[in-house]
């Protein structure tokens, strides 16, 4: 049961946080460079620009789902397994999702990085 709980929770973390990451990234790209906006019109304006985006709010919700699933996994397995495994699997799912949904240019360099991380995850689980 320990393994099923751990990896089931990790799967939920990966799916929820990939969805969350894509939505949050889309929202922040629309907001634009936060540093510049802050210097130009202050922190309140920055917060307003971010919080009024529906994709930001849904992204936060998905992150909350991922967070509680992570807590669940951490109660069953070591942090040096759970945290890197869930986050780096999320990274691979993100490379695919970012290419499809955000139209980011995922070049050879970024794919090689994804493969290296994937191999790393397999070793972490062993």
């Amino acid at each position: 049961m320990k393994h099923a709980y751990t990896w089931g929770a990790i799967l939920v973390v990966v799916l929820a946080s990939t969805t969350g990451d894509v939505l949050l990234s889309r929202a922040m790209k629309k907001v634009g460079d936060v540093g510049q906006l802050w210097r130009r019109s202050g922190l309140v304006t920055v917060a307003w620009h971010i919080l009024r985006r529906p994709s930001f709010m849904v992204g936060i919700f998905m992150m909350a789902v991922a967070f509680f699933s992570l807590l669940f996994a951490l109660s069953w397995a070591d942090v040096s397994l759970v945290a890197p495994a869930s986050a780096s699997l999320t990274f691979i799912a993100n490379a695919v999702a970012a290419k499809i949904f955000l139209h980011e240019r995922v070049d050879h360099r970024r794919w090689i990085a994804a493969l290296l991380v994937a191999a790393g995850v397999v070793l972490l689980a062993g």
Partner: protein, 145 residues
């Protein structure tokens, strides 16, 4: 990429690793949560270590959102995964977890992935934001794909 932006990326890395560590410490005190008592998860945030972990993860989130406002998701995520190396060191020396040679190797591969991605451009659409040193290679990869 300016120095200030690298600082933000460093913040993302550090706050995430520290936050995860405190969470792990707290959850070890709370103990295993069974599927039948899922609502108990909500009350775990009353544990001081879990609460401290959440505080650091909020700092992480602010830095992460800032980074996403000027860099690609597929750049920010791997660029900040050096945190796993940090996490493994913390797990070994602070939480006293067993980190086997295979896990060290896995962590090494993840770090290599980080090295790869940070050599490339940070943002897809704005050429002016590219790391100038790597600009010619970035153009080369674009031509191939």
């Amino acid at each position: 990429m300016t120095f200030r932006k690298y600082l933000v990326l460093a913040g993302v890395t550090l706050f995430a690793a520290i936050g995860d560590t405190f969470l792990a410490r707290g959850m070890k005190q709370v103990g295993n949560v069974s599927l039948h008592n899922l609502p108990d998860l909500v009350f775990t945030i009353l544990d001081p270590w879990v609460a401290l972990g959440i505080l650091f993860l909020l700092l992480f989130f602010a830095a992460y959102m800032t980074a996403l406002s000027w860099a690609d998701l597929t750049y920010v995520l791997p660029a900040t995964s050096l945190g796993y190396v940090l996490l493994a060191l913390i797990a070994k020396f602070y939480l006293h977890e067993q980190v086997s040679p295979m896990r060290w190797l896995g962590i090494g591969l993840i770090s290599a992935g980080v090295g790869f991605v940070t050599q490339g451009p940070a943002l897809t659409r704005h050429p002016s934001h590219h790391d100038q040193k790597m600009e010619p290679e970035a153009v080369g990869t674009r031509a191939k794909s």
